[in-house]
Symmetry: C2
Subunit: 433 residues, 2 copies
């Protein structure tokens, strides 16, 4: 059973704080190992990548077979059932339609001093997408990472996906193909991140690396940050549902379990204005846990990190939700739009009872790569912005320089940066001649 909290209980605040602070993830200290792997790949390139792939994935490759050929991709895609293809195509289309709207505008204007100012957005030239192998090899994540990159205008998009013992997920290759991925390499782990960041003879380096991975991948991304851009370091998944008593307990139970089944470290929380409804949801979860395929995982997550919090009002729910800053927030109340408008810190909001969070994982359109572990306080889900960068523009006319140059001279002097000041002075002297 999960924890039951009630804001009217005397010990609510310490218990809620403990819930917020719960360390859900063991972070094994793999940093030294990863540093060694990265150095090895930097020094020996393909040879290191091939050896490490043999060691960790038990797959023997050559520089020629590191990359899936177009024939191999076509052969794998042919194994995908038409219904799966149709579902992935629908998802891709909806994700693309959503992300196209995110494209930011360039700007250019002349200000009252006559200075022309503005900015211009351009795409990253090359991006690498890490795709996990094995259990967590999700084709939906390929779409969610690759489509924003391609919408942004990234010309070269490379995927690395390990094939432990030679296992390939055809749906991952189909998703990559559908999303317009240009290169697919059968490597994984820190060695894949290192190869993408620094390049080898076979794999050209990229400018940005995104995508989820295990502790080795996360540590490697953290290490190459600066050499290349990275997306967030994702933690275990979370859902917060705010529900009144006028909901089907089983629906809410399934929504909670849809995060819990990801990972024993996942966290599912229900905040409700109706204590009896909270109990009914707990019972519905227990019933579902009798039969769910992933009941061992979902049950452990729910037992260790699940919580049902009873609040006196939706005002309290809003305040607690912003303290949690959930990755996924589902609002199942009478006026979910009004409640949504009051929420400040959340990765994604699912508005109303007809919007189960799982819709967002696949076909809603918004990205499912979202900030975890309270980082929605300061960061956003993946978007086209992750694959774009902005160049600021400034153009002075002689008049503009006359107007604002003297202030720059003054500030340069105050910061003891003489050449800064002189670069303005020399031009103003010409104008004043």
């Amino acid at each position: 059973m999960p924890q039951f909290l009630d804001t009217r209980d005397a010990d609510f605040e310490p218990r809620f704080r403990a819930l917020l602070a719960a360390k859900r993830e063991d972070s094994p200290d793999v940093d030294a190992v990863v540093a060694g792997i990265i150095d090895d790949v930097r020094n020996r390139g393909d040879a290191a990548v091939l050896e490490l792939t043999e060691k960790f994935d038990r797959v023997t490759l050559t520089p020629e077979t590191l990359r899936f050929s177009s024939d191999e991709i076509a052969a794998e895609c042919a194994k995908v059932a038409p219904e799966d293809k149709a579902a992935l195509d629908l998802a891709a289309e909806r994700i693309r339609a959503y992300h196209v709207r995110q494209m930011p505008q360039d700007a250019r204007w002349t200000d009252p001093d006559g200075a022309e100012l503005g900015w211009r957005w351009t795409a990253v030239s090359a991006a690498g997408l890490y795709v996990p192998g094995g259990l967590a090899s999700y084709p939906s994540s390929v779409l969610m990472n690759a489509i924003p990159a391609k919408v942004a205008g990234v010309e070269r998009l490379a995927i690395t996906v390990p094939t432990p013992d030679g296992a390939v997920n055809p749906l991952v290759l189909y998703a990559a193909h559908t999303a317009g991925v240009d290169e697919i390499y059968r490597i994984g782990g820190a060695q894949a991140v290192a190869a993408l960041a620094y390049g080898t003879d076979t794999i050209a380096p990229v400018d940005k690396i995104t995508g989820p991975g295990n502790a080795f991948v996360a540590a490697a991304k953290r290490r190459v940050f600066g050499k290349v851009g990275i997306d967030m370091i994702a933690g275990p998944s979370e859902i917060l549902v705010i529900a009144d008593g006028d909901n089907d307990p089983d629906w809410i139970a399934l929504d909670l379990m849809s995060q819990a089944e990801h990972d024993e470290s996942a966290q599912s929380i229900l905040i409700t204005t109706d204590a009896e409804f909270g109990k009914a949801v707990a019972q519905a979860v227990e019933k579902r846990l009798e039969t769910l395929e992933r009941r061992a995982i979902a049950g452990a997550s729910w037992r260790d990190f699940g919580a049902i919090v009873t609040v006196a009002s939706l005002d309290e729910a809003v305040a607690l939700s912003d303290r949690i800053a959930p990755e996924h927030l589902e609002l199942c109340v009478a006026d979910p739009d009004a409640l949504s408008d009051r929420i400040r810190h959340a990765g994604a909001i699912f508005i109303g009872q007809w919007t189960p969070e799982a819709i967002g994982d696949y076909v809603g359109g918004p990205n499912h790569v979202l900030p975890t572990a309270r980082s929605a306080r300061f960061s956003s889900g993946l978007s086209v912005m992750d694959f774009l960068k902005r160049t600021t523009l400034a153009k002075m006319t002689p008049d503009a320089l006359r107007a604002i140059g003297p202030a720059a001279e003054r500030l340069a002097a105050s910061e003891s940066l003489e050449a800064h000041g002189l670069s303005v002075t020399a031009r103003l002297e010409r104008l004043n001649r």
Copy 2:
């Protein structure tokens, strides 16, 4: 003297590569020390901060004197010369006017399936701004960090600025006051970053930390990344000037020196279509280096990392510039706007000979916190976006769920995530009853 390169030389490519790869910064390995400091501040809070401040800054503080009082701020501001105040006010006004235009739009629409989709931007609640003490304590940087935060809507903006041996820069306090900073603490180093990230009894934790600092500050920011958001890890400054022969060599020399004088690790590069002009600029630099106050620093930077590259055409200049991905790019050519449009990777572009880079450091309006060390390939300068985050929104109607729910069920099954699928199935069953 700097290096002279010419694209027509046989050894150009290896020499240009060496220039790109030059390791300009010694990164002392302070990570272990910083880890210890962060743990100490997490465990002992104010007591650790006070001890470390006494040790590193030789200043004895108490929890009551950690923060500048409003009387102290007013007294420091009163020391600032009216001309400096006017210059900082002008800079603040122009920076504000530029950054207000960056505010992104919320969006909400209904798609053909009846799904309501959108996103909403909200500000980070609390941000911390690190300001270095001593030589690199620049009031302009206070404006460049604080104004975007306030324009974004950050309610609580805290600054930390060390006061080694008690030294305070009144202009920094005036800039902070002008920019609307809410709290100013006289601490620095890794201990300041730790206090901002984790909080102490006196300093409430923030959600995002920005601002430049030394190796200890950079290592601390890297370590607290995830617990809070951080901006980029800035490296030494850089400028690339692309100039034809129709320029005043002394102006270009001063522009090159305005970066070189920052730091011995700074890098100033001229690309020119006119080899004779390149030589004239080199001579003008030597002349200026005879008298510049910071000639020791500027001279070392120019000697060790400066370069003058002669190209056969502006096409070549564009290609080399994008490989450099400069922090600052100045275009002093006949049609600088046309050239600007062709540049893809640059932090900021200064268009035309009347736009010395120093204008952008102070009063242009765009931010002067810009990506260094070739990171303009994948990242942007500081902006209001650094203090905002986006929440995605999705709302299904029964009809929308009927239309796209089955694809979600199919994909959930393909990823063996049964509860995901059932959360959709349960709702579709109700609709189909």
